[in-house]
Symmetry: C2
Subunit: 693 residues, 2 copies
């Protein structure tokens, strides 16, 4: 069957527009919901202003840095065959950064409006509150994915070659790094300092209106978990789509499938949007039940529809290539298995988390030691699943002769197979993003409910919402690492193709050094990210203590704390402290590439990716497991709240915060940034490197 | 100048024997020192019996496992050109494991006799106590290095080919893994549980005779820090010597230097022994001064003599190859720079450690977060130094054309240059080992002094000894990682040569998976090692609590606790809990090699090495920094002992224990075991792998 490339592009663009229209109607529905009492509106207004101010300033900082880099790229990147390559790369870079910022902004726009409406609904019925939070997440998911798809489709229609779009992906990951890092520093610094001075020193509850940092904490959910994650996933989808399209250009693949092989990823992504819309529709059908069930059902429906879509695509676009359909199914299955593994290591109904709680009987140190070891151990099964998925998709694509490496064509088909598996895994991204958005909205609404003086029934409902949100957050983080891992292989295959390298031979000293630097970069970046949270928190702590001391009547609830000063401090400190770690991971690979050459930077990329995935898993899962060990005790186990054991688990939870919400998620972006940076700057390394290929 | 190989071998063997004779006389001198009061003798006797019992059982366990593996190797390893290869490998393996055990035993033999004599001397003069502890360490250093050198020289004289000695190196690292892991679990489980129940629950001082675990804790120093480390460094020296000799067989190197290039490492090692003996002599010359100064001077003298030795050797053996002399000097300089870096990140006079203490003002969680980030950050400068050393040695060996890869000969000379740099770094090993042995002997003597009811002046002296020991321990650990890092490159160059691989192309899917598994292995092993400490400590804690409850008058000092039951429990538990993590790192590379092939196992090795070095640095330095942050507070800073801040740093210190003394040091061995395992089993992977090279 013949399909014109224009048809495929129109299909992708059309579905994106459809998803945006749906998102628009969902926003209208959300805006029609009631915003509650004056007090609730007032709190929500402070959160909105805080979040918008922060994002505004953050985008300004990012724009300045991005502009400097773009100017350098425009001048430095040259290609004998294409005199405009530098300008094209710089232009794409700027556009990608802008789109990433826009995606984060849209996500935040919806979340700061859904939170108060969810809070008001909590006072009435769980069902309505659940719907508002879910639909807020849905807007997030649909908007981010369709904006990426639309952008790539338009650029491809314009430029006609995916290799010219890599600048766009690089710009997106560049902006995402600072967004996720700055947001992550903001949210955890506010959270830790509010807890440390409020809960521990002044002994007032979490989200208590007497705490000057409470608004900053709620702002943090929106700028870190929502805007940061939105930018993160925007760049993931973008980078991976562009990478997969480039692999469709591999000679053997292109000879068989033509331009259809290049456009397949776009069509697959469009089917993912359709699947998510249908999956979202399935949420609204049933009556009251365990709140986690409808979310699982939505994900299941999305997965099944996405698989069906892949079948159709492999028949229509790829001339009945059922082996590639199998590769896509492998990707979907890997997603599901990884969700189970993440749940096993981080759920408080499972042994690992309970063991953390048991060992905390010996004090905070053994509890934390066990927590860290659970995080390290969780890498085991995860890597085995990723390895099986990659390897079986490679075989599905190219057969055993691809494994033996006897035929170059077979290897190219094998690598295309891993790209298709990645597309399979990513097909459910919009739904995952929906779940990802659900958590912070529910969290925020709980804060608003508590701050506006509600208790009893409403608090219970909002806590059960929060519990669901915690589970979805852990699962989506596992997904984030898995997609980074799978797509990394795809992206560095694209890099090899673009850079014209035959391989990455780790046994060469210069290449081995590249690998060493790649691994080291991950550790140093993590160190800086964790430290940045500490530094920002220290400034916040001083301010909270000052207010408790200097504002009379504040702790009795007679005087209003100065929320805006705390918001202001964390805004400035987060922006200041994100610069060094952010620049480090941008500049280091460029320096290595210029000094040691393209093959060496390839090793930096690969070993950095492996180390990044492992460290991200370690920190994400250790943090989540220690968080839930505390929840396990708070649920009344082992003596419950108020015991020394409980205090020990609280310490573990607090330690886990910067690991799981700042360093870990930022590493997902780092891994992908390393990929897009090398992909976009390959011509630079080939041209200027001290050690040529 | 012509030098017959027999002369070089005789020189190496002769110096080894000389060092052993010197060690024998030093032991006689130590044995002539007074053993103090009956009470001290009695305590020392309990430690000796405990340590000997533990090592006896540990060696039995290791022997059983080793015998099983040896039998498999004897049957499975086949080589068309050499029908006896399997038996030779198995025989070397058994011999290596035996020698490693013997090295550990000798080290322990001296330390359990030096500790009580040092303790008695502490009551008299610092000077004498210092001498005994130093000389105890010296025996340790000389014995371990000369046994390795003697063994290799004998095997080379017998077999005539370093490739046939790899089984010996593999056996040594196999035994060392279990020795370091089991010893590390023992010592930290005893330490943590004694602290947790004694210091925190019962509020009695450290090393108090009323604590039932106190003897087990003192035994731990000897079986973990002494016997474990002795086995660790025995295998390092052995593996690296064999690897460097194999690189001397590279066609271009052999064509120029002949057998002298192969024997150069042995001669260099012999000069290292001479340098250490002269360095040790320099310790005894001056009168009372800052106790750390004479140790630094000893190391300086050793380094200078070693450099002079390299000059002589490069003239005599390598026909005036001053470029290789430069490579050796690079290795020595790297050692010194790394000592400074380690000191910067872990000394309490420097900013990083003080920042941990400052941030602990916010509680244990921010303190630990800062501590972990210091550990991660410390990898940065370290890797830069290692990279510079490797790269400049490579250039020294092969020139710029080696870097460009334009001449295969130049590359072989370049790699030989890195081998010589490694030899330079390792030339000071016997002195480093001496310093390494000093720490636990001083620590043990302090325990004996305290347990035998001394206080005041004697305690102050023994605390200042302990402080010196802590510094040397941190420095020698940094050295351990550095030598593992530098020699890893040497060892996998040897692996490539033996396996006949042209490179390790990470871009092949099966090879990339090998790399993924390598990184993952490090994280899972670390998790298991930390957990093993927790499990063992839990059994100990239950026993200590039982004794406090069931033995009347124990806390008043009227009844003697049952020390031996605690010793017995930690013996059994440590041996039980070392099995799973130990077998994991032995079996995983074999499985990967058999399924995915030799190139893939090469990637496992390289990425595993990078990840292993980074994780070891992270855990060692985070642990040491948190330990010293506590000491900084205890020295009277920020309010001193008894404050909430102090309690927070104590928690950080306890958490750091399993990181810095179990998981971290075991990773040094894991990295080298991965190297020797692949080197020794390369024929297996080539013969049986599903995916051939």
């Amino acid at each position: 069957m013949q399909v014109a490339p224009e048809m495929t592009l129109s299909f992708a663009a059309g579905i994106s527009l459809l998803a945006l229209v749906l998102a628009f109607f969902v926003i209208r529905w959300i805006m029609r919901q009631h915003t509650g009492t004056d007090r609730m509106r007032e709190i929500a207004e402070s959160i909105r202003v805080g979040a918008e101010t922060y994002l505004g300033r953050q985008y300004k900082s990012i724009s300045v840095i991005a502009a400097i880099f773009a100017a350098i790229f425009a001048v430095a990147i040259r290609d004998p065959g294409n005199p405009y390559l530098g300008v094209e790369t710089a232009g794409g870079f700027i556009l990608g950064a802008l789109c990433s910022n826009l995606a984060g902004y849209v996500a935040m726009y919806v979340s700061v409006r859904s939170n108060v409406r969810t809070a008001n609904a909590v006072l009435g019925s769980f069902d309505r509150a659940f719907k508002i939070a879910f639909r807020g997440g849905l807007v997030f998911g649909l908007a981010v994915v369709s904006m990426s798809l639309l952008g790539i489709s338009a650029l491809y229609a314009l430029l006609g070659d995916p290799r010219l779009i890599v600048g766009f992906g690089f710009g997106a990951s560049f902006a995402a790094l600072f967004a996720q890092l700055g947001g992550g520093i903001y949210t955890k610094a506010a959270d830790m300092s509010a807890d440390m001075v409020g809960k521990i020193e002044a002994r007032i509850p979490e989200d208590d209106p007497r705490n000057p940092a409470v608004i900053a904490d709620l702002v943090g959910d929106n700028v870190g978990d929502i805007a940061g994650r939105g930018a993160d996933l925007f760049e993931s989808i973008t980078g991976e789509n562009v990478g997969a399209m480039i692999l469709g250009l591999a000679p053997a693949v292109y000879a068989l499938y033509g331009v259809n092989g290049v456009l397949f990823p776009l069509a697959a992504r469009a089917f993912g949007l359709i699947a998510t819309m249908l999956g979202a529709a399935s949420v609204f059908t049933r009556k009251k039940e365990d709140p986690f069930r409808p979310l699982v059902r939505a994900l299941a429906v999305t997965s099944v529809v996405a698989i069906a879509g892949f079948y159709v695509l492999s028949v229509v676009l790829l001339g009945n290539s059922l082996n590639l359909f199998v590769a896509a199914v492998i990707g979907v299955i890997a997603t599901i298995v990884i969700a189970f593994i993440t749940d096993y290591y981080t759920s408080y109904r499972k042994r690992p988390v309970q063991e953390i709680a048991f060992s905390a009987e010996g004090g905070p140190a053994p509890g934390i030691a066990t927590g860290l070891s659970v995080g390290m151990e969780s890498t085991g099964l995860f890597i085995v699943v990723i390895a099986c998925a990659l390897f079986s998709a490679f075989i599905a694509g190219g057969g055993w002769s691809a494994v033996l490496g006897t035929s170059i064509e077979a290897v190219q088909f094998g690598i295309y197979g891993t790209a298709i598996a990645t597309m399979g895994m990513l097909s459910v991204t919009p739904m995952i993003l929906t779940l990802d958005g659900f958590g912070p909205i529910a969290d925020n609404s709980g804060g608003i409910v508590e701050m506006s003086g509600n208790s009893g029934e409403a608090m219970a409902v909002s806590e059960s919402m929060d519990a669901v949100g915690n589970t979805t957050k852990a699962l989506t983080k596992g997904y984030g690492v898995a997609s980074a891992a799978l797509s990394a292989f795809l992206l560095f295959s694209a890099f090899l193709q673009v850079a014209g390298l035959r391989g990455i031979d780790l046994a060469k000293p210069s290449v081995f050094l590249g690998g060493l630097f790649g691994g080291m970069l991950i550790f140093v970046f993590s160190a800086f990210a964790i430290k940045a949270v500490g530094k920002t928190a220290a400034e916040m702590i001083a301010e909270i203590r000052r207010q408790f001391k200097e504002i009379p009547g504040i702790l009795e609830g007679n005087a209003r704390p100065d929320y805006s000063r705390c918001v202001d401090i964390s805004t400035k400190a987060a922006l200041k402290n994100m610069i060094v770690p952010g620049l480090l991971v941008v500049i280091a690979p460029i320096v290595v590439g210029l000094v040691l050459g393209a093959e060496s930077v390839g090793a930096l990329l690969m070993v950095g990716t492996i180390a990044g995935i492992l460290m991200a898993l370690y920190m994400n899962n250790a943090g989540a497991a220690m968080d839930n060990a505390k929840k396990y005790v708070e649920a009344g186990n082992l003596g419950g709240k108020g015991t020394a054991l409980h205090a020990a688990t609280v310490i573990g939870d607090t330690l886990g915060d910067p690991l799981k919400d700042t360093a870990g998620p930022s590493l997902h972006v780092v891994v992908k940034l390393l990929n897009t940076i090398t992909l976009a700057l390959a011509p630079l390394f080939i041209m200027y490197a001290l050690i040529p290929v």
